[in-house]
Symmetry: C2
């Protein structure tokens, strides 16, 4: 009667654990199934909450991740979840599990990153819990945000004709991880090793110091565009597209030649003899925003800097498809639990 | 230039990491330095947030802690932080780090405990993050609560003449841990070992299935008593008393013969040849409420079932004192980081 977690996958597991949860409080609006839960504590604001856990040896390797960057990233990946609901992050609480090898200076470096991220994104660090850990460093961050009433964007609002848009470019953070792993392997046993990131600076930065797309949320607002559904790209475009489709009860068609990919990502894929599109579709950790808008918003969204229309939603029965450069249809597959 | 964390202690470390944090949002009212941060998202409600992290091998031992109990406890210790601010817990988000040895059934047992606690305390489980862990089980829970405007109780409001009150009894959860550790040692290498908890049931229950004092908050409200300061007893009475005194800028005098101790706790202390008062003052994990009320509330608070007046605040220069049975003055010492 023992069921292995891998037989369900991350999302199957979450569905199983959270099915039929009751709603006991009026202040709870929507719960599991979005980037953040939505609550109501006032007349004109809705309150958002989201949590993320980062574990040493799973999500980061301190051999090449500076603690300040790690703190920055731990905060930013949480902020990204609030932006993905069209909200503004306001407060952050951080739980830390630390093992004996860490000194006060290490933690100050980590906090310097947390503080910097909070400053850059206008968020208050309001609390936390610090405890010892028997194994590695554990960072659990929870962010509280808000949004004007009626402006929260869920995963579930897309219509079958909506346009699918994505910000920035994809696959670079994943390639940055490959660069870092390669240099780590090259440095093994060598003293005074200097890693070579020449021509890969953008990739390494995307991995070590991701940013949340506050600017895109602001640009959408300024352009008067309210997305019909939205999610941040943390597990890879394929997986996030399927989340939007499942929640919205639609299919999707995205076009390979529309997927935004940086030049450095393409060069690195070639060096590693990797399929570039696979890396961009499944790489993860991009923290870009994936969203849908009505067809009528086509002109407005096309004018936005840093946003590209990559396809459109479709009726459910058409499934989830990537259309290749020669018009061939490639079914999308969910990933998730990339860290197991 | 490396400073060991132990040289600062838990609270010194937190102070150092969180000093001079800016306040960037109007919705942030008070941050670090209480059981929960306080925010304002509406006209008549204040919003509270608190987080706690539990790590395998540090906070719990799965040899004798059933997963359902662990889930229950992980939720309840968070709820306790909200009650300690005179608030009501409303929503819970849970981050889980799980290693490969866990099956779906294990996680269902853990969630059954989380769900039960949420049901008992009227809280909605609204989200989370599930990831893999290289080492043991990690549980990071964050709770959101609320309170009517103007009713939040901080650590900092006590006056030097206020009465010090505590709910329930102290030291039992710590003694429960001793019972469990003793039976674990006795079982080493033995097959089909049946632990002997006879006469220790209360202690074991206090350790494995603590409750948050929702009932005391309700009783105080019904009696029209608004505490001047409050904290929950998670690290031991001594440590929490000092927190209240430091935040309120007072001293304190508590009386040994007023410390509430259960009969089973006393018997176990004798069996282990341990100092009973030390166990009650420093044991931790009681999750009782420690609070102060004005002298004028003496009669009202004395009538409350399950609450005892154990002493009074005093001017700062009188320090933090436990008055022994023979009138001797014993200085209180902060503990904290009991898990390191």
């Amino acid at each position: 009667m023992e069921t292995e977690i891998s037989s369900l996958g991350e999302f199957g597991l979450i569905n199983r654990l959270t099915e039929n949860l009751p709603k006991l409080n009026d202040s709870t609006l929507t719960a599991v199934g979005d980037d953040a839960a939505v609550m109501s504590y006032g007349n004109n604001r809705e309150v958002l909450v989201s949590t993320d856990m980062l574990l040493e040896g799973v999500h980061f390797d301190l051999t090449y991740v500076p603690l300040k960057h790690l703190g920055y990233k731990a905060a930013v990946v949480n902020f990204s979840d609030i932006y993905a609901m069209n909200g503004t992050p306001r407060q952050l609480v951080v739980g830390l599990g630390i093992s004996k090898r860490f000194t006060v200076e290490h933690l100050e470096a980590l906090y310097a990153g947390l503080r910097l991220a909070c400053e850059v994104y206008g968020v208050d660090l309001v609390g936390g819990d610090t405890t010892s850990s028997r194994s590695g460093l554990v960072i659990a961050a929870t962010v509280i945000g808000d949004a004007e009433k009626g402006t929260v964007v869920h995963r579930s609002g897309a219509k079958p004709t909506d346009l699918i848009c994505v910000s920035g470019d994809l696959g670079a953070a994943y390639m940055g991880l490959q660069v870092l792993e390669r240099e780590k392997a090259a440095s093994a046993g060598e003293k005074d090793f200097t890693p070579d990131f020449a021509g890969k600076e953008y990739l390494v930065e995307r991995q070590l110091k991701p940013e949340a797309r506050k600017d895109i949320i602001a640009a959408l607002r300024e352009a008067g565009i309210l997305p019909t559904s939205m999610i941040d790209v943390s597990d890879g475009l394929s997986s996030e597209l399927i989340h939007l489709c499942k929640a919205s009860n639609t299919g999707c068609r995205v076009y390979e030649d529309r997927i935004p990919i940086d030049y450095q990502t393409a060069v690195m894929a070639e060096e590693l003899n990797m399929n570039l599109v696979t890396a961009a579709m499944n790489g993860g950790e991009d923290y870009e925003l994936l969203f849908t808008v009505p067809l009528t918003a086509h002109e407005a969204v096309s004018k936005l800097k840093g946003v590209r229309v990559i396809g459109h939603m479709s009726p459910t029965e058409q499934g989830y498809a990537l259309i290749g450069r020669n018009g061939e249809e490639i079914p999308l597959k969910a990933q998730g639990f990339t860290h197991i």
